[in-house]
């Protein structure tokens, strides 16, 4: 049997299994580390950096860094939370996120993180980039205005659907999600693919079923994201 690994998050002793990442081991101990590109069942990617923690004062992605014996991790401190807030802020201004009419609103992980961090408005300048949409598929809609390049669709399509429908192209600010044909309708994507459920925002949407859940009953209307992982008292309403 494997010896458990003992480490510390914000001074608290936690035991995890060898090979676990900081994020997974923390989650097993009911400590929530905010995340966007991480999704259970997919390979770890480290794209969004929202799960940034400090290990020996050095920022690392909790979703890709394995725990080691005696590791000292800073998670829920003002400094670390401010890094994450800034990252979320930047994701908002780098894309075109119109929450007021987005079908994903209330169920969106990016929006939910902004709510959790009580961000009333982004502090950075809005970029208003030009992004392309792909409405060619009869059942699936791609709106790159909302894409945060987390790569969850890329990994889900490859690892769970065995298809490779999505892939990144371009670099830097030109980086975007592409499909492995001229347009989505020319690929073998179907609406039941797990990749279509993997998007944390409203960039990949199923057609014909918009706005099905009324306001007040959506996932993050009352409960902050991560509250299911934490002890419920921690993140409930002030």
């Amino acid at each position: 049997m494997n010896q458990p690994v003992t480490f510390f998050i914000d001074g608290q002793v936690i035991q995890g299994q060898p090979g676990q990442t900081i994020l997974e081991a923390a989650q097993d101990a009911r400590v929530y580390i905010p995340r966007l590109c991480y999704r259970e069942g997919l390979s770890n990617f480290g794209a969004c950096r929202v799960c940034t923690v400090l290990v020996n004062d050095k920022p690392v992605a909790a979703c890709t860094t394995p725990i080691t014996e005696g590791m000292m991790i800073e998670n829920d401190t003002e400094r670390v939370q401010n890094y994450r807030k800034d990252l979320i802020d930047m994701l908002f201004v780098e894309g075109n996120h119109f929450c007021m009419f987005c079908e994903k609103s209330g169920n969106c992980e990016l929006q939910a993180l902004a709510y959790r961090f009580r961000i009333p408005a982004p502090k950075y300048l809005f970029q208003f980039p030009q992004r392309e949409i792909d409405a060619s598929h009869p059942d699936i809609f791609i709106d790159r205005n909302r894409c945060i390049l987390c790569g969850r669709c890329v990994r889900a399509s490859k690892e769970l659907d065995g298809k490779n429908v999505f892939q990144f192209v371009g670099r830097g600010t030109e980086k975007r999600i592409a499909v492995n044909a001229d347009q989505l309708s020319d690929t073998d994507a179907v609406v039941t693919d797990q990749a279509m459920d993997a998007c944390p925002v409203g960039a990949i949407l199923k057609k014909h079923i918009g706005y099905t859940i009324p306001v007040g009953k959506r996932v993050y209307d009352h409960q902050p994201i991560g509250a299911d992982i934490e002890d419920s008292a921690v993140a409930s309403d002030t």
């Binding site: 908002f92 075109n96 996120h97 119109f98 929450c99 007021m100 009419f101 987005c102 609103s105 209330g106 929006q111 902004a114 709510y115 959790r116 009580r118 961000i119 009333p120 408005a121 982004p122 502090k123 300048l125 809005f126 208003f128 980039p129 030009q130 992004r131 205005n145 306001v215 209307d221 009352h222 902050p224 409930s236 309403d237 002030t238």
Partner: protein
């Protein structure tokens, strides 16, 4: 002691946030007991009568008139609050930011499917405020002290924030009152 003064303005928005302010229902009577309204569409006072304690801005800036108005609010108001998604992010009007301004105007006055414009002229009169190149959220034009997001912000959000501001307390909204939709 004189009552604190409030001023409000609707810039490039839909007046929905002002509707939400009216949606505080019978508390509006309490509000009128607590404060005096200065320049605002609520009492139709067009110009500032003097310095104001709390200024409330709905809508972003899409033209030069919005900018002038907003700057005036910043000059006259001790605390300036932007309310609603248009003021905090640009909102629905900022959908035009992804399209060049010239193309927007061409669509509106020449090429749009429902356009009837026999003169073939683009409206141009000094009474019409010049459009900005893009629609800007208020905090990209002047310093804003507090933001209340939402489309519109719920009446309770506006009420809670106003009560806090008027009693010199920090505006700290609970989870359920910060919403972007």
């Amino acid at each position: 002691m004189a009552k604190p003064k409030i001023a409000t303005a609707a810039l490039s928005g839909c007046f929905g946030c002002h509707m939400s302010l009216l949606d505080i229902d019978e508390r509006i009577l309490q509000l009128f007991e607590l404060v005096d309204f200065d320049k605002s569409p609520i009492d139709d006072i067009k110009e500032f009568t003097g310095p104001v304690d709390v200024g409330i801005i709905e809508g972003g800036c899409c033209n030069e008139e919005n900018v002038e108005n907003l700057r005036k609010f910043r000059q006259y108001c001790k605390v300036l609050v932007s309310i609603g998604d248009c003021a905090t992010t640009g909102g629905v009007p900022s959908l035009r930011n992804m399209v060049p301004l010239e193309e927007c105007l061409r669509e509106a006055y020449f090429d749009g499917p429902s356009v009837y414009n026999p003169s073939g002229e683009m409206p141009s009169d000094e009474a019409l405020p010049l459009l900005l190149d893009k629609v800007y959220p208020c905090h990209e034009i002047v310093k804003i002290d507090y933001h209340l997001p939402g489309c519109p912000p719920p009446a309770d959000t506006l009420w809670e924030a106003l009560v806090a501001l008027l009693s010199d307390k920090p505006v700290e909204l609970p989870y359920s009152l910060i919403k972007y939709d």
